[in-house]
Structures are given as structure tokens and as C-alpha cells.
């Protein structure tokens, strides 16, 4: 695949790398990432901690919104948890730009496991201010 600014950003993303997140594809306002749930990602209900489901969605979102150019950060987002997952499950997150207007954008991210939707995320992006605040 062609390299994009998202690939450069992902190369510097220590957090995603440390979790074993792989960038499968990025370009043209879209991105796909993958992460395997480990035993260290399980919460007190014996399910994947919601933070890790968000993590994989947010990483796909970041790669999608930086796949075209100017440095863009997450201003926020909403996640709906639809199905629990467990250690050993492989989560795939596919992010796609829905609309941009001025410096703002909206991206939809679907997280799946074995072809079933486990979460839906909608991210709000913002092209970054010079002082680094979203």
C-alpha cells in the first residue's frame, strides 16, 4: 500500500505498537487496524475492558483522519458496546471518513470480531491548533 502521513504517525505511536496493534491499511480517509486481546486486557466482568475496545477504534480513527494530510487529533467520540469479547479474540477496526467541514470531521469506526460487530464508534476530529490543543 502507498505510504501516507498516517503511516508515519503510526510508526511513532508507541502506545499502539506496545499493544501489538497492526496497521493493515490507511489512505483516502480510511484505515483498518487489528489487535489481539490478551489476558492483560480483561476486566472484572471477565470481558475485554472497554478501554481496549475503544483503543483499537481510536487508533483506526487516528489513522483514517491523518491519512490525507494536515495533523488532525481526536476532539472526542462516542462508542457503543454491542457484544463482549474475551482473551484470544482478534478485533479489527475499520474507520471511514463520513464528512469534513472546515477543520472538523466525523469518522465512523466499526469494530468486529469473527465477522460480528462488537462496537460502533463515531469520532469527532479537529485539525490541530498551533499550540497543540484540540
Amino acid at each position: 500500500m502507498a505510504r501516507t502521513p498516517a503511516h508515519d504517525m503510526f510508526d511513532r505511536d508507541t502506545a499502539s505498537k506496545a499493544l501489538g496493534i497492526e496497521l493493515l491499511d490507511a489512505g483516502n480517509g480510511q484505515a483498518t487496524v487489528r489487535m489481539t486481546i490478551t489476558g492483560d486486557m480483561i476486566n472484572g466482568h471477565a470481558m475485554t475492558h472497554g478501554g481496549y475496545v475503544f483503543m483499537v477504534a481510536d487508533t483506526a480513527f487516528a489513522c483514517a483522519c491523518n491519512s490525507k494530510g494536515p495533523v488532525t487529533v481526536a476532539a472526542g467520540g462516542d462508542i457503543a458496546f454491542l457484544r463482549p469479547t474475551r482473551a484470544g479474540d482478534v478485533l479489527t477496526a475499520y474507520a471511514k471518513e463520513r464528512v469534513t467541514q472546515g477543520r472538523s470531521g466525523i469518522y465512523d469506526v466499526t469494530v468486529t470480531c469473527d465477522g460480528e460487530v462488537v462496537a460502533e464508534f463515531r469520532g469527532r476530529s479537529r485539525v490541530i491548533d498551533r499550540d497543540g490543543t484540540p
Copy 2:
């Protein structure tokens, strides 16, 4: 502090423990947790990965909504990122029940660092179905 079902749940929360999250207080629909940002939590923009900010908010949310009794899970939530943080920063998340209606609830979580708000999260909870789906 008095033990609550949230304390038992947190004791089994491998994910939060592995990240060094501490449960400072839980009870009566409220909870406070704390986490120190490490070098492994930094994203490609040299800021704390949004997934970790969500993680600390979501953990406080889970402890608050399980502090009173029946097993409750996150159905979803919205996070707004207001200020970037860095490695070495200590994040504190305070969660508080806003309203419950039937099996649904809404909780507000504020994440602060050195007294400044870095994120605001609003979680939607659901008392769990017998089959484990939210």
C-alpha cells in the same frame, strides 16, 4: 473506606491492575481512580493516546456503577478530549451517577491532571442481561 461490589470487581480487573490504575474510593454511585501515564502510553502526536484517557475514565465509570449492587456494564459512552497530557502526568478520574431509570443509568466522569480538566466522559450503563450482552 467500606467495601462495595465495585471493590470486588476491581480486584478481578486484570486490565486496570496491569496498567497501575488505583481505586482510591468507591461507594454510593461514585468512584475515583488514578493512573500515571507511562512512556508506553504515548501516541504518534507525542501525547497520551486517547485510548488511555478513555481507559481511566471507563474504569472510574465501571466502579461507580457497580458500587451499589447489581452487575452493571457499559453500554456506551462519549468522551471529549480537552487538553493533551504527556508521559509522567498523573490522571485522576472521578465518576458520579447522574440518573438511573429502570436498568439504564447515566454517569459523568471528569478526568483531571494537576487540577485541570483533560477530558469529560458521559457513560451509559445497563444492568446486565443473563446472557451477558449489554
Copy 3:
């Protein structure tokens, strides 16, 4: 077009009818509605009141999620306002099911005016309890 439960529901929707909302299409988890902004829909900033932009989106959402069968209500939703509109503008809202899981569903609604996106709405639906609460 084929009649669906959404058409029956819309026929009883006094609120939408009183505002001149037209149901253009409904079926298979999708719906399209249209409303003309009148002088009575303008807020103190001389733009369409956000409540009316939400109204047209929410009506499309209701028609989409009732287009297939069991009585379904809005549990909630998030709207992003992207462009202001004015009196005389014609808003079209297209709603489409994104995913359903158990009694919950997620629908995406795009509101446009002259081919430009003015708002994006994501609705959370719930098949209704016998006691009428969402």
C-alpha cells in the same frame, strides 16, 4: 412504495405533520423525510433552531427503525451541526440502520440542504418495553 409499519406510525405523527414534514420513502431499515424551514423556525442567531434540525433527523430515524416491524423508540442520539441554514431552505434527512443487536439498534442520519451536509445524527433505538419506557 410499499407500506410499512413506519408509514402507519407516520400517519399518526401529529407533530411531524403539523411541521409539514413529508415521508418520501421508508423500508428495509431506511427512511427519507423532507421539511421546509419556515420563519417560525429561526433562532436568536438568525439561523434554523437546532431543535428543528434535530426534529427532521429524529423523524427520519423513527421511520427507519419502525420500517421493519416491532415498535421501536429512540433511546437517544447525538447530533453534530455542521452548517447553518435559513428560512426557506429545504432540509432532507436520510436515515439508515447501521447495526442491530438484541433489542438495541444504531442508525445514521444525514441531513442535507442543496446537496450539502448540514448535520450528522446517530440514533440509538430500543424495541419498546410493554410498559412504554424506552
Copy 4:
């Protein structure tokens, strides 16, 4: 009560006036408004149309975020519908600033009827650009 920029804005708010919304109080990042549900506000499920519940919440939000000074618009918001209401019910919405950061703000709005919470809204505000886009 002391007049604020919110009062001036509300005086020009044709939409809210046409619906009989009353501004009960505004100042210091807070506002309270009230609206009586009429027969023209009922949806196809014989409940208040969600658009009108949003309307009253959004109006309180607008008054709260314009109560202190610079012209501020809604960038978006999330509403959770908790209890249905009917014709004749009187809805009261109380909005309160939660946090501001730069040109962005977050406001919480609770909609009640007879002392019971019927909806919770969280609004995202933005001090307006010179070209009028949020």
C-alpha cells in the same frame, strides 16, 4: 433577574417564542426554560416527539452558553430519552456549564416533568467564527 446577552438572544428567538418556551432564568453559565407540551407535539407512538424534548433542552443550552458574553453556538450534543411525556405535561430544562476550554464548552442539561427526569442532554458549544459556521 439581571439581563445577560442570553436574554437579548432569546428575545430574537422566533422559534422558541412560537412554541411558548419561557426563559425563567439565565446567568453565569446557567439557564432554565419551560415549555408546555401541546397536542401538536405528539408523535406516532402517542408520546411527545423527541424533537420537542430536544428543543427545550437545546434552548436552555443556548441561553446558558450565551449568558456570559461572546456569541456561542451549538456544535452538537447528545440526548438520552429516559421517560415518555404527553400532551399537557410541562417540561423544565436546566442547563449548566460543565467546562470550557479555549473556544469550546460542555454544558449539561436536565429536562424534568413533575420532578422526574425525562431526558439528559450534553451540549458541545463553540464560540462562533466570523463567517458564522460552528
